[in-house]
Symmetry: C2
Subunit: 512 residues, 2 copies
């Protein structure tokens, strides 16, 4: 290759990658740095690059505007300054830019399109075989999911005893042939037998993850990247401060310029034995300093929530704390944190032995609708017993459940919201969940433009409404489980809605 290499034209919110040749002596991951300054009429962005092996240093940049840009790259391995120019052309179909917080409780893409999150979790799908990764991508393509949570580090846990396709560092893992379903919990990040050089990244590991991030991006799926997690037998959860920081900077330099990246600092941060709030806040500082695009940032709990009021946290990434109330707590969390509420774990559909992974498809779908009608964003996972121990929740593959089939309907309905996002309407009946457009008033007058009313597990045979005498509404009756939407025409004044006396019904009222 030449001394410098890059594309001359990319889409707005695409990723420009500039490769330069540099030194290979010593340990390039720690001995040298590389930085780029990208300049257009509306922005000047300084970004750190990273060493990608074989003497190649890379600097990535995501242009936020359609514009002509110039750049200057300089590495500590040389006196030379590399310059170049490129054009950011209009975003192509399906490219709406990164997702940001739009109006306190809701998200929108950078181009203003509302983003209604329908998430799933496959912790280490991308670290499986090519075949399985391909299958997962196909499943995702055919699904309604527009966000997926996954880890950079491999996962060690029940149903997760196998080796990942690659490791993030150079070195050798412990011998996993000693692991059984009975003894795996005895193996932790402290286990002997692992030999890693925490100062030398395995670039193939990261290159592969980037391919996966791009594949997701091209399907319109946000990559909610879990940068740290405690389910570990290799020691990745127990590195030193210095090692952690090196890792964070490397991850930030590699992934920040992908528009579909979200930062999840941790899965179940509270299960790390050796990390304190001070550590998490340090990582947060590193993100804020090293991600010039301000991708979304969250931190996910097992039991106690992290303080989601911290200013760097853009949205609440929640694991439910109560066995019986999950999505039903959304009103409280919205009020407390005044941020978007994303319910990344509200128990998964499945039939494994653990209570977090064995609810019905009906119940998970119900939680999705409860969450949506309370102005939050629900998350899915699937944990069906499988003879090969391939469970969607960790490995991806195919879906065996029933809930996922119902999410497209919910997403379609969410997309009909006037403005951006729904909020829970407190002036509704005590025995229904009623959503109105965000930024409506809580008063009964004026009549809202839109009501989405969900009856959850209740089975009314009819319901009566009277908003006022004048307003006309288009009435639709939605069977959220059987996936039917029945147009009941125009209603006005006092009206009665006949319902089938089944669970999981909703009605939609649109002012006409």
């Amino acid at each position: 290759m030449d001394m410098i290499n890059y594309e001359k034209q990319i889409e707005r919110w695409g990723t420009l990658e500039v490769s330069v040749k540099g030194k290979t002596e010593g340990n390039p991951f720690v001995d040298y740095t590389v930085q780029g300054v990208f300049t257009g009429k509306k922005e000047q962005v300084t970004v750190n690059g990273f060493y990608d092996g074989e003497g190649i240093y890379k600097v990535r940049f995501m242009p936020s505007f359609e514009d002509e840009y110039t750049f200057r790259i300089q590495g500590s391995f040389s006196e030379e300054v590399y310059v170049g120019e490129f054009t950011a052309v209009p975003a192509g179909t399906g490219n709406h830019g990164p997702v940001y917080v739009a109006n306190t409780y809701h998200f929108a893409y950078a181009d203003g399109t509302p983003y209604y999150s329908i998430g799933t979790t496959c912790y280490v799908w991308e670290l499986q075989s090519d075949e399985l990764v391909k299958q997962t991508l196909k499943t995702l393509k055919d699904s309604a999911f527009n966000k997926i949570r996954f880890c950079i580090f491999p996962k060690h846990y029940d149903y997760n005893l196998g080796e990942p396709r690659s490791y993030p560092y150079e070195g050798m893992p412990m011998d996993s042939s000693v692991l059984t379903k009975e003894n795996f919990l005895e193996y932790t990040g402290k286990t002997e037998g692992n030999h890693w050089d925490f100062s030398r990244f395995n670039v193939e590991h990261f290159r592969h993850i980037e391919k996966c991030i791009l594949a997701l991006r091209d399907m319109g799926i946000e990559a909610d990247i879990i940068v740290m997690h405690p389910y570990d037998r290799w020691g990745f959860s127990q590195m030193t401060e210095e090692q952690d920081d090196l890792y964070w900077k490397y991850v930030l330099a590699r992934f920040s310029a992908y528009r579909n990246v979200w930062w999840s600092l941790a899965n179940e941060y509270d299960l790390f034995e050796h990390k304190t709030v001070k550590d998490w806040e340090r990582y947060a500082d590193l993100i804020c300093a090293n991600d010039p695009y301000n991708h979304l940032r969250s931190i996910h709990n097992c039991r106690p929530f992290y303080d989601h009021n911290r200013p760097w946290i853009t949205h609440c990434s929640i694991q439910r704390q109560d066995l019986y109330k999950s999505a039903e707590m959304v009103n409280e969390w919205r009020e407390k944190y005044k941020k978007p509420v994303v319910l990344d774990e509200i128990a998964y559909e499945g039939n494994i032995q653990h209570g977090w992974g064995n609810i019905t498809g009906e119940e998970l779908t119900r939680r999705f609708w409860e969450a949506a009608c309370r102005g939050a964003y629900p998350g899915h996972g699937e944990t069906y017993m499988n003879k090969d121990d391939i469970l969607w929740w960790s490995h991806g593959g195919v879906l065996h459940g029933e809930s996922h089939k119902r999410f497209k309907l919910l997403h379609d309905i969410m997309c009909e919201t006037p403005g951006i996002g729904l909020m829970p309407y407190e002036n509704s009946g005590w025995d229904e969940v009623c959503a109105v457009p965000e930024e409506s008033t809580q008063q009964i007058k004026p009549v809202k433009d839109y009501y989405l009313i969900y009856f959850s597990f209740m089975r009314p045979s009819f319901r009566e409404y009277h908003f006022d005498d004048e307003t006309k509404f288009q009435l639709k009756v939605i069977d959220t489980w059987n996936m039917t939407v029945e147009d009941r025409g125009i209603v006005q004044g006092k009206f009665k809605v006949e319902l089938p006396g089944r669970q999981y019904m909703a009605i939609q009222l649109k002012k006409v």
Copy 2:
């Protein structure tokens, strides 16, 4: 009749009724009193009698011992003292005496037999036609119910616009032909058009209720009598203090000597516009002063609970306050009140428009098991739409639902509890509901004699346990919905229970 009339022999905990002739001049309900003193070797009981019309005054007594008794009756209408004697013979089959609190959280009959309450609610079943009353009794006979809540006053509410078979007072009700499903809420206890003499009881009304109490008694069903309630168009909820007290004394004099009577001061006490805590406490004083048998006493809420810590309250009669958590709150309530927790309203199976009356049979059955495994007593009701507006919850009749068929199994299992009653075991898994015998310790050691573990809506395909290495348990797997009990033999040490991955499963472990 003679001047005095009574049976010479009754069962222990039966009802002796002594009738004496007295004056009919003036208003015998208020102008005269009658009292009896009943004396055996182990008790001397003074009771107030009542006027039963046609110049007859009655005094009722329930002997708590097998013994020879004498009595003296005196009325204010005469100087004469009536004396007599009778024998209380051993209780017959099915007669275990009244139900009392046995051990803080649980009930037992006076003879020591544990009483595991499986309640239902039919608010005014006894005020319906002879035919319907007969049908209700047959339904009850074929059911597992051993407690029923019902009112003395008729009920005015949605699906309850018809006239009762009789009224408690002499007089005339308002014209009910004006009522519709749309306007009924405009008619309250203040409505004009009612003409009652609140000082003259309609004895036929009470005689009929007594027949019903006896019919229940003979089927082993406790009569949880709701003495006051707010759903009223006749003015019975808005009488004066003096009128209320006259009513209470009359009810107490008539019903106290029936062994299966429980006093529910009110249904939804907090919905009475014109009554204060002072009133409820005054009624409680009247019960304590006029019921010499100390029948169980409770007061039922709509929203806020009455202070169930009040000493006269024998048990909590609870309407759930949260749409999503009902039986799941039992642990908290037990801790707070240290009394038996009876969940008289945790939503009813049905399909009417109201959220309190349209849950599935599955969900109500689930709430029953949750309640039982947390050491409480669940209550049923049924509110299916019906072309004749005959809903079990108010009118009785036949049952249309599915939950009631599952209660016999639950009751059978409850009866297998060693000792009296279950308590929630806190050292169990977070994702199961585990009961152990009341008065066990909460420590892991010693191993308990009995574990009843319920998986609720969760669907584990297996669960693993290890209590200790020595103890042997008889293991049974219970499908609470499909009503099967599978004996899995003896288990010991670490063992795995294979489960079908369906909802509503339980396992029972009995130390052998």
